[in-house]
């Protein structure tokens, strides 16, 4: 077993345990912190896969933005579900069964694909060339400029929508008094 394999097992185990804690932790704030650990583990896996730019983006976008956003939402809504009481619904065993069956099916399917045991060819180009190629591919009219622009439109639309949806309703004082 080589050093890279040991590193993979280490990071994979950390990611897996953190993901398990995300879905089982009774306290939501703790679940958010475990989510940060899981996202960091995925970033480490990206580095093992030699996608260093994506690892940086993972840290900046996921840990820096999305996880913080989730922690904000947890803080803003925490009075209602006081970290006590059941955190799972009545049919949690159905969910467990579904996910276990799905995992078993996926592993069985993977076991039948023959070409998965091979090791990759070493990268022919260095990271700078790779990053330049990614940047060019995203703005090249023959490659991914359309999905890229679509993603930017989607981001802007969702930002405007989020502001519109999260705005306090007009006359919220009467409504909250009425309840």
């Amino acid at each position: 077993m080589t050093l890279v394999q040991i590193l993979f097992l280490l990071f994979g185990l950390v990611t897996l345990l953190a993901s398990l804690m995300v879905v089982t932790s009774p306290k939501l704030v703790h679940a958010a912190f475990w989510l940060i650990l899981a996202l960091a583990g995925v970033a480490a896996l990206f580095i093992l896969l030699e996608a260093t730019f994506l690892a940086v983006v993972q840290v900046v976008v996921y840990i820096g933005a999305i996880a913080i956003l989730i922690i904000f939402a947890v803080m803003l809504t925490r009075r209602v579900m006081h970290d006590t009481g059941p955190q799972v619904n009545r049919s949690w065993w159905v969910a467990l069964l579904v996910s276990l069956v799905l995992f078993g099916g996926l592993v069985l399917m993977l076991a039948q694909v023959p070409a998965l045991a091979g090791t990759p060819a070493p990268l022919m180009v260095d990271q700078e060339t790779l990053l330049e190629d990614l940047g060019r591919a995203l703005v090249d009219a023959d490659r991914y400029v359309l999905p890229f622009e679509l993603a930017s439109v989607l981001l802007m639309a969702s930002m405007i929508g989020a502001i519109f949806v999260a705005r306090p309703p007009s006359g919220s004082e009467e409504r909250s008094g009425e309840r």
Partner: protein, 102 residues
């Protein structure tokens, strides 16, 4: 080196953990967290297939970037919806948000 199947099995495990979280958790914020886990599993698959199958073509990384953008917008809209529902109904439990159910 690491076989590709290790990455795929790890990603499948994380995805299934996310599926369990989405189906079983009561808190809407926890459901969103599980969705983020599932999107991350997909990203691992995309990058692993890029590295092992077609390292000369950058499309795997480009699609992973798209998944990042979609995940960011999904988190923003989802959390805005949760905060809006919390303001009006004082709950974030998924089974109590049933105005559209009949």
């Amino acid at each position: 080196m690491i076989p590709l199947s290790w990455y795929l099995i790890l990603a499948a495990a994380i995805f299934c953990i996310g599926v369990y979280g989405v189906l079983a958790r009561r808190n809407a914020v926890a459901i969103l967290m599980s969705i983020e886990l599932m999107l991350n599993a997909v990203n691992i698959n995309l990058v692993a297939f890029w590295r092992y199958m077609s390292p000369g073509v950058i499309s795997g990384q480009a699609f992973a970037v798209m998944v990042f953008a979609v995940a960011a917008s999904e988190a923003a809209v989802g959390l805005a919806l949760i905060i809006s529902i919390y303001r009006r109904r004082f709950t974030v439990a998924a089974e109590e948000i049933d105005m559209l159910k009949w």
